[in-house]
Amino acid sequence: MRTLKTSEAAAVLNVSPNTLRAWERRFGYPKPQRTAGKHRLYTHGEVAALRDALQEGLSISSAISRARESLSADTSILVGALQSFELDRADGAMEAALALRSVERSVEEVLLPSVNEIGERHGFDSAPWAFAARWAADWLQRAQRLAPPPMRPAAVLIGDATHDDLDTDALALRALQLFCVRSGARVLVLPVSGVSGLVDVLRAFEPQVVVVAGAEAPDDQVARWAYRVRSAAGPLQITLFRRGRMDRARPADRELAFGPGEAHRQILEMFDGGARPASVSAPHDEPALVPRRRRANA
């Protein structure tokens, strides 16, 4: 994917960098990514689509609307491919999406909405949903294999509290995992149902951020898992991702954004802001995620 700096994107559109920033504020388009130094980085596809639309547009709004439509064609193609159970075409649609966007945005703007649309059309217990969800999980796994090796001294532990691979939150969890891996972090996903031997794993992995993702596992199970994690890795803050009905004992427990992209950004902020380092075998404090009634009995 080709990217442009602000000055380059402004030159393509024949406007000033200030104009480009003004459009971002008013219209939310073009939507740049940020480099590690917080500089804007525009995707060439978005800028080119806007340039073409501006030539035939009557207003910036209508041109942006047209540019967005041309970009959303990828979603339609992917939905069509998944509807007709054509895996090669689905892969092709994602390749086309990647030509215009980053992996993160392709996943958030094309893959996840398309698969979700299949679920909404046919039901989340239907065979087309299962087909689409399995393909999407496979695609995310393949993308992860192409990710660069870990570069940051950062480790994220994700407690998988989803039901199974066909859980609607499972794909978002896989997407979050992919984004973290691509940003150079080590990521370990463990089911919250398994606590046996967890201490040994965590002593080797030494996570700095712990995320509980998914809403299916019961609170008791998650609390037991979180207790074990804290026993092994120290008093880490547990963050929640797509866990709406958690009985949170501590208001400080942080809830991540619903979208995996935004959640990933929040996780990176936690690293940049100095997440508490793991201290293996540190004395563990009060288990934070034990339901209130159990704590009262203790």
Binding site: N14, V15, G57, S59
Partner: protein, 166 residues
């Protein structure tokens, strides 16, 4: 001996005045000293594209106006029209013009008049006309609107003015 061929100017073209360029957002005339003369983007507000219209139709900076294409979809709403109609341009774009404005003239033959005028204007045809419109679903409010062709690209310009064709 055959008469010498001559070029004859078609009526209405020879005496046609040059279009006035104005910004589709702030409504102000195009600045001649804008930083990027090749760009269609307004050098003053940076939020609109420059559009051309006949002098008798082009809006004054204090006139709210809308741009409508040949499918009668709203393509642009000036900043003043946003305030007047109570909606943002981003919400109005791609909506049918009748969702925003309908004829309010009791003597008009019907809503088709407004539609016909807009369609003719959006095709680049017709003179500047004046109609009375009101916001859809609102009564007791009327605007005198000038409707005529503008562009490029071709579209109809609806200037909500004071009722006097200049």
């Amino acid at each position: 001996m055959s008469p010498r061929p001559q070029l004859v100017a078609l009526p209405g073209y020879a005496d046609r005045q040059a279009d006035v360029q104005f910004c589709g957002h702030c409504g102000r005339a195009a600045a001649v000293d804008i930083a990027q003369p090749a760009s269609r983007v307004c050098g003053r507000c940076e939020l609109g594209l420059l559009i051309g219209a006949p002098p008798q139709l082009a809006p004054a900076p204090s006139d709210p106006f809308l741009l409508v294409d040949s499918t009668l979809s709203v393509c642009g709403v000036s900043a003043l029209a946003e305030d007047l109609l109570g909606l943002k341009e981003t919400e109005a774009v791609n909506r049918h013009v009748n969702e925003l404005l309908v004829p309010a003239d009791a003597e008009a033959s019907g809503p088709g008049d407004l539609v016909n005028l807009l369609m003719h204007a959006a095709r680049g045809e017709g003179e500047v006309h004046e109609v009375v419109v009101r916001p859809t679903s609102e009564f007791g409010i009327r605007y005198w609107a000038r409707i005529g062709p503008c562009g490029p690209p071709r579209a109809a310009l609806v200037v909500l003015g004071d009722g006097r064709i200049r």
